[in-house]
Symmetry: C2
Subunit: 408 residues, 2 copies
Amino acid sequence: MPKINENFIKIPASYLFSEVARRVNEYKKSKPDHRVIRMDIGDIKLPLPDACVEAMIKAANEQRSASTFRGYAPDYGYDFLREAIRNNDFISRGVDIKEDEIFISDGAKSDTGNIGDIFSAENRVAVADPAYPVYVDTSAMGGRAGVPHANGQWSDLVYLPCNFSNDFLPALPGVKVDLIYLCSPNNPTGAAFTHAKLAEWVDYARKSSAVILFDAAYEAFITEADVPHSIFEIDGAREVAIEFRSFSKTAGFTGTRCGYTVVPKEVTARNERGDNVSLNALWGRRQSTKFNGTAYVIQRAAEAVYSAEGKMQVKKLLDFYKENAKAIRDGLQRAGYTVFGGTNAPYIWAQTPNSEKSWDYFDYLLKEKNIVVTPGSGFGSCGEGYVRFAAFGRQEDTDEAIRRLTEG
Amino acid sequence: MPKINENFIKIPASYLFSEVARRVNEYKKSKPDHRVIRMDIGDIKLPLPDACVEAMIKAANEQRSASTFRGYAPDYGYDFLREAIRNNDFISRGVDIKEDEIFISDGAKSDTGNIGDIFSAENRVAVADPAYPVYVDTSAMGGRAGVPHANGQWSDLVYLPCNFSNDFLPALPGVKVDLIYLCSPNNPTGAAFTHAKLAEWVDYARKSSAVILFDAAYEAFITEADVPHSIFEIDGAREVAIEFRSFSKTAGFTGTRCGYTVVPKEVTARNERGDNVSLNALWGRRQSTKFNGTAYVIQRAAEAVYSAEGKMQVKKLLDFYKENAKAIRDGLQRAGYTVFGGTNAPYIWAQTPNSEKSWDYFDYLLKEKNIVVTPGSGFGSCGEGYVRFAAFGRQEDTDEAIRRLTEG
């Protein structure tokens, strides 16, 4: 009989967000008349920009006739989209990323998970604590995490604690690591690296020969000038970093599925003989073997994000979410919470009032206030005693939620 | 410095179809005025059925307003599509597959590759020779193939030779194996298992505790009554098989990207303690961790394949390709080729006339006849001396290609 990948049964049976959904559904079933406000999962409420819908419809109509029909897309994405990304997300910020360093995908979750395929199981991985669960779970699936301790931490991962004392920005690892997941602006804490802080990480990675897996899925929410949108704004990052980007929150693509990964030509890892191997080539091989390209209509929708109309519509979306984040942050503070984030990110990270455990406070908010948040402990043991509020809801829901929380 | 997954540099640097594309592009550049007919990669030429386009446009318009907008799809797919699949692809054939055994994805290539994630690297894998390269390449990436020999075969894979003497249907393995990739109707040979033949495999898997990874991407091209469309038509298969399906060729989804994988509740593999573990649960965990669902508009397009209008349009598409396959098969025979396939599959497998090597004959056909085929040796060492013709082109191109080949 085949053997399973033993690592799969070491990880918790349920993915964090699935467990939240389960409890919410159970509660709703028991109290069908209660109006529950979702401030948990990063699922957006505002619709897809018109420019993207129009582009998708135009592309769908092209698929209707043989003369304009498109079959298999290039595995790495269409040039029209890679060029739009290059010009708008990089050249415009003075960063020279080439088209063949950009790999279009169906989203950052897939890529941050699948990137492990190209690395040996022996690498030592560092993750912030708390962190987006995919980094930890996929490291575990790939055999890089060891075994889980009772507190949920894994024996072989190097955890970088984030808390109020370090402004939720991880300190450099105290031991040698090979791969470092960094997410800025951060999910779940909302913290963001300044240029100077991120430069310390790039410098560290260069000196210690580590590779940074940089998740920039929330870069569009940055409001402060000294916060970099891409790690490649930092000198020397091309040799030590891979960057993940997403259209999900930026342009409402949660249900439309498109993202991309930047793997510069210079970034390498070592083979058994000690030679440097291009990660750009390895990721390309992974994608051409296990992926068949992102749908044509979806790539056209993503391209429209960069049209003049699309940019205006996306700005409106983002302005709304940014204001919403500020309203949640301010409202929670007025209600007496100690909070973090919400300035450069759509997430507000709040301490539970009396050091309640995250899941206890989750249950309290669900049952007493009919508000759904994400329990901080689901992001790592340092998240215990916190909950995450997401700013992707409707204005009136935010107001109502703050009212309920202020009432005490 | 991080270590790479060493297995990646053992596999040939270039994916078969990329190498074909490279040679074709080079030739076209040197002879821009020659009309090259593509009969190589399984990329279809006929457009997407109108019903699918209409469904996609309707769904795109729903994404335009907040009241109908859909964010993150369920990781495993929308119920509307899982139900349509259950009823049309299984219940209608007397096969009881439940909705929660169906996992929607962006295509069979992703799933046949990613399925390896849930299995230990220690499993012994059997593949037909020739076979779709993804089975071999992803087994290698996952550490299940060992090292490549000079002839391209891998030390740890069990090859099941297919040739004229066995009607290109593999014999049962002579040694103990854990995982068996089977593809019927077959890419590249066009061979298909009858009920009786496939039942032998299910019986074998049950007796030897193996799991069959059954690729049924071409089931829609079956014309003969005794050829099963699903392995689950065979009694007992639910305990030993996983099935992969695709809308790519069936309904023109090569550039639209949708497929699905069936993992019955009964199929298991063993953990280190010797317990049976449900593969349905493991694949679910894999997908919810490394995948974020297929785009809503794409799932609506796939659902439309099963509408009354969609079925009619898909039938027309398939009838065309089936006739085309027959025309190629008959034409090649008239031109003196020894051929196989083309009856239950869109592929015709032809012997090179004077035992030329596949790539030599590929170059000859490209340069002398301006016809692109796929070299059989790219599918495995037993494919040497063969080339594959695909039936996805236009009628007039088929006629012209046969004319060129018949002229000698």
